[in-house]
Symmetry: C2
Amino acid sequence: MEPRPAAPGPCPGDSRVAEAAAAASPLHPAEARVEPGRRAPSVAAVLPAGGSGERMGVPTPKQFCPILERPLISYTLQALERVCWIKDIVVAVTGENMEAMKGIIQKYKHQRISLVEAGVTRHRSIFNGLRALAEDQPNSKLSKPEVVIIHDAVRPFVEEDVLFKVVTAAKEYGAAGAVRPLVSTVISPSADGHLDHSLERARHRASEMPQAFLFDVIYEAYQQCSDYDLEFGTECLQLALKYGHVNAKLVEGSPDLWKVTYKRDLYAAESIIKERISQHICIIMDTKEDENHVGHHLEEILKNELNHVEVTSGALCPAGRDLKQIILEQCYNYVCVNVMSSDFEETQRLLNMLEESNLSILYPVVVISVYFLDYKSVHFDQKVENLMQIREYAKEVRKRNILLCGLLIYYPQDEQKLQASLREGATIITTLIKERNSGLVGQLLIA
Amino acid sequence: MEPRPAAPGPCPGDSRVAEAAAAASPLHPAEARVEPGRRAPSVAAVLPAGGSGERMGVPTPKQFCPILERPLISYTLQALERVCWIKDIVVAVTGENMEAMKGIIQKYKHQRISLVEAGVTRHRSIFNGLRALAEDQPNSKLSKPEVVIIHDAVRPFVEEDVLFKVVTAAKEYGAAGAVRPLVSTVISPSADGHLDHSLERARHRASEMPQAFLFDVIYEAYQQCSDYDLEFGTECLQLALKYGHVNAKLVEGSPDLWKVTYKRDLYAAESIIKERISQHICIIMDTKEDENHVGHHLEEILKNELNHVEVTSGALCPAGRDLKQIILEQCYNYVCVNVMSSDFEETQRLLNMLEESNLSILYPVVVISVYFLDYKSVHFDQKVENLMQIREYAKEVRKRNILLCGLLIYYPQDEQKLQASLREGATIITTLIKERNSGLVGQLLIA
């Protein structure tokens, strides 16, 4: 196998979570590490993002539709920029979306992005992107790459692995593209709208993205191709074949490569993203030596009920497992078990740490502040009224994309009843993390 | 245009919401009414449901995966059985799923369903379904239809309109099928995995479902076709062409016809269903002549914020708009504004009416019991403790698929503050209806 072009994993220069460089992100497991050996090609990417999204049935072009309040294209940029060996990412956007795109890059701290103006068709947008990378452009700060990746702004789930495969194949064969099996049979209609013939499903593939090309192959193809190609063409691999006489290598891609096309795809993308950032829950407990603390029972129940989810615990005090490390590993879910007499001291300290990190720039972080209520030691109403202050805290941290809720778990003497209320508490925690809906922040839920 | 085979709209015999027969369901608007004229063909449907769902990556076959706790196939059956002119629906399921399927039919009160054993391939399952409809089966209670619809168990969003179109075209041409534009370019690979050629996207179509056939055409095709066809074929239209020499009429379908194939499609289907049943909110208010009641302000805010959602109001007393009619129109969202001195009287009456109807058999019904709290007239803590009883009511009605929550809206004298808390209340109501998550039932939320 070819050596990777350069080190995979989060880039050292990522200012959002700087120290995370050493750790592979749990959202994007880097499957292999650098292998020494052959010279790595220089790689850039071009992302046409000038589409109007007419199939979506919504006025906003689909690449700018929000998922968890962040535009779809930002997720795609995130997927590309975390691959260190892609040195430049050229995005083609229409003039009217140029300022919005600059705002997105600034807000989400995207890096290595250059913007060019989109053309009226997809092929023209790609051509503009390639021109910006070509050396014959006098004012360009960009340098010509050996290999160029072409990807879609609306395929946010592209993994480093498939990018690596198409780049490697492009270096060897001149062009390469990801393909998938067909979901439906493809048929050819006659002029009067009847079936002429159907294609054998197993002998055809759907051409997906990413694709990669030796820069000179695809740039020359675009320079030679006709206006008809630029207006009505849809397939870069076809241009490389027609004008560069290169039969692209086809790479089998994963189902994740699908293209956000219809409104239902936005729903699916949101659910997938929510699911991915819910795979790790950290329970914050400063319970010191008290191994029998009820917080540990809650942890056990969460571990049992969510057996596909990593449940870890951390502590705010220096003696415990380093919470900072957990934040760096991009855990987006915190259950803060309050054991001190003061109601908000621990939650407040956790919130401060989260705000100091830049964790919530990309995804909303859920914090659930848990209180156990022993009916014998405190009057219920007094406690509730006291805890209602959580509304004010929640309003404040909401501005920084942290979703805070309170959870009061009934703590009776009866062991069976306690188990029931702990299970109910675990269900509420699971629901809040899974839904990640800002409409319920500041609520005090009761289990 | 051809006359409809028979009256569209909910079937008179639907025991779930019997009186709804006269009203078109808001989920499935019937676009046209019966036209007198030509003889309508007799129509049956065959639904192959023997698939293993290997592409889904989950152990449960996809047609049995739950959406809002109900199996996907039940949604597809619901879509077919509401079309009165389909007289029989034959479902092919594997032996091991036969009992589960019988349970689904009973639990959700599906009608006009016959079960047959699935074959090892899709084509063999369809053949088994057709055999059951053929007149040459001595023990069959079914009679041979003039036209047969073939549909997929995993395409739950099929509308009456497209069913009507394929049936009409099948009667005229012998065969017809729904098609959609291609989302990706289709390519043909060479034997060594390189691009051989790509197909012009505009000259091809994806073949979707439903399809319809003159029964004799498709049944004879299946009787004549080879074992190879039955094992490896995927396209019924192709069999009609090859053995019946019928060039099927192609009917352009809507994007809704897509096939639930991957896990992301289940997410999308759930979101679409949740969105569809959230389009109508009924506010229950027995405010009599008090037009200035704060409940009306809440109604106005909901109307303004949810301008795509129908917000109506009803009353429990006979003088108001008939709540029964709203239930019959299949409204799945109720906001019950409590104005009486007793905290739960009105909510209890609403819950009783909902339980008497069979509304919650198919979808979870959300009920939000709203209380306005005037700090001057009642002590906060006392009120909260009183309202916590809602947990017990919620637990009880949860068993009947009703999701009950409480919402306490702060009611200060200050007009501006009141507007703010009403807006917050509207946000919480919207969130609860949109998420429809059973994990939060019985909670008392505070705006």
